[in-house]
């Protein structure tokens, strides 16, 4: 009986000790929580380049991929260490209100309008994306909107605004989901949608849709990485966040962004110089 007891005690103390040692190996200072958008994650860019940063710096980056709105909200609440998004207006507000610091434009890609190959709204050849959007509304074609406050969703709403169209025509479908699922639904319903080029290329093989409109400065999509104000949240991993931000603007990382290709297409253009 006594033996059993002491045996149990030994087992328990070993278990306790080993669990504390295990937790010590993933030290909080070594983890960087990066809130970013589904477009950088779905396209595979981060999976391609972050391991290099991790190997060089010894940090471990945990990516939380969500819409731009939620990513900035997480940053505002001090739930993450660093944030990378693509919605200039929302980012400016985030910095001006004292939550974000050191915004750096690191890269850009562009948005494209996808639609059925037959292009029932006859939008190809429009002079700009505003005119293309107007055609969707006047012909009452189906348009799938992400409706999730993401950067893409904000961009889409801004275009409707420029077109002075209230997005509530009969074909307008707001689904509150990420880019990938939106593309799959647009494909099922053979509808129009606005997407970043990266996610489109990543999903191209699965889709029976084509680019019905592209180009023009309204469809530019710049990405920024921002640090979080240390005065508001002193206990975050600011050192790691700064190391990651610095690495993103290094010539090496900028080159890796330019070299990243999906199915032979370059998705992102490095813009920090």
């Amino acid at each position: 009986m006594f033996n059993l007891k002491s045996g149990l005690t030994t087992v328990l103390s070993v278990a306790l000790l080993s669990s504390t040692m295990m937790s010590a190996t993933v030290n909080a200072a070594e983890v960087i929580k990066l809130a970013t958008t589904t477009s950088t994650d779905n396209s595979g860019l981060l999976r391609a380049i972050l391991p290099t940063f991790e190997a060089e710096s010894g940090y471990q980056v945990q990516v939380i991929a969500t819409g731009t709105g939620k990513a900035l909200k997480l940053a505002r609440q001090g739930d993450v260490d660093v944030v990378m998004t693509h919605a200039p207006a929302a980012e400016a507000k985030f910095v001006n209100e004292g939550y974000g610091t050191t915004p750096r434009g690191i890269m850009e890609n562009d948005f494209v309008v996808l639609g059925p190959k037959a292009d029932p709204a006859k939008m190809s050849g429009s002079k700009d994306v505003v005119e293309a959007f107007k055609k969707i509304a006047t012909t009452e074609n189906t348009f799938i909107s992400r409706g999730d406050n993401s950067g893409t969703n904000m961009k889409e709403l801004a275009i409707w605004k420029q077109a002075s169209v209230t997005p509530d025509f009969s074909g307008y479908t707001s689904i509150g989901q990420g880019m990938g699922k939106t593309l799959l639904m647009a494909n099922e319903k053979q509808a129009y949608t606005l997407t970043d080029r990266g996610t489109f290329v990543a999903y191209k093989a699965k889709l029976d849709l084509t680019i019905t409109f592209e180009g023009g400065e309204q469809l530019a999509n710049p990405y920024q990485i921002m640090l979080i104000n240390a005065e508001k949240y002193p206990d975050l991993n600011h050192q790691g966040a700064k190391a990651l931000s610095d690495w993103f603007i290094s010539p090496k990382a900028q080159q890796m962004i330019n070299d990243f290709k999906v199915q032979g297409e370059q998705l992102f253009k490095a813009t920090y110089n």
Binding site: G69, Q77, D148, N149, I175, G176, K181, E188
Partner: protein, 235 residues
């Protein structure tokens, strides 16, 4: 959190009490879809449960085990199955039911049928077979006899119905996959909560969560009082 809990709760209650149209559209989608799924599956499932409990037939053991297994499959897997059935190139693609309420109803039927069948089978197994045979020998038609047995078993059957309804009313996986969370059309309580949380807008999520919570409390207290009445006589 820089918004206090109290402020969020206040916003949530005011959304519910001010009859916010978006919130109530979500609630009505939830209930109408789940009620439809329950109503369509109700009679066939209870009849099948009765047959499994009362008759020996080849394959009975197999069917019983399949039904038991289906009960424990995660709803996302059933959602995946329904998605593959309904997708454009799938076997039922011509119906164009993917991302519609009909598609959601189909998925929820697949979720609630096994629960109903298994629980009603258990209920019918608990009753003495002689009740059924007596009714039949007294000249009752079989529908009439089943009805008599069902009245006898109303408490466990009602519990079965409540259990299966609460399962489909609260599942998120299948509704999200097959319904697609379309505003005013296929956005129901669970998918809306998932979306609002992912946007970081907690007030509406809490308001909808409260609806489910209040419903759960009402149902559980009702069930509790039913169970109390259905207690077996003390030995």
């Amino acid at each position: 959190m820089n918004e206090g809990w109290l402020a969020l709760l206040q916003q949530a209650f005011s959304l519910l009490l001010s009859l916010d149209p978006d919130v109530w559209s979500i609630i009505s989608v939830s209930f109408s879809v789940s009620f439809a799924a329950l109503l369509i599956t109700l009679i066939p499932s209870i009849v099948l449960g009765f047959l499994l409990a009362s008759y020996q037939f080849p394959g009975r053991w197999f069917v019983t085990n399949i039904v038991q297994t289906l009960q424990s499959i995660p709803t996302v897997v059933i959602g995946l199955l329904a998605y593959l059935l309904l997708t454009r190139n799938g076997p039922m693609g011509d119906l164009r039911w993917l991302f519609t309420q009909q598609g959601m109803i189909l998925g929820q039927m697949m979720i609630c049928a096994p629960v109903l069948i298994a629980l009603s089978q258990a209920a019918f197994s608990s009753i003495d077979r002689r009740a059924w045979e007596t009714a039949r020998t007294l000249g009752a038609s079989w529908q009439r006899a089943i009805w008599t047995v069902c009245r006898e078993l109303r408490v466990p059957l009602l519990l079965a119905i409540i259990a299966s309804f609460s399962r489909i009313l609260t599942e998120v996986g299948c509704s999200m996959m097959v319904g697609g969370n379309i505003l005013h059309h296929t956005r129901n309580i669970p998918t809306a909560i998932a979306l609002e949380t992912s946007k970081g807008d907690f007030a509406q999520a809490i308001a909808l969560g409260l609806v489910l919570l209040i419903l759960a409390i009402v149902i559980n207290f009702a069930v509790g009082s039913l169970r109390g009445k259905a207690m077996p006589r003390s030995q």
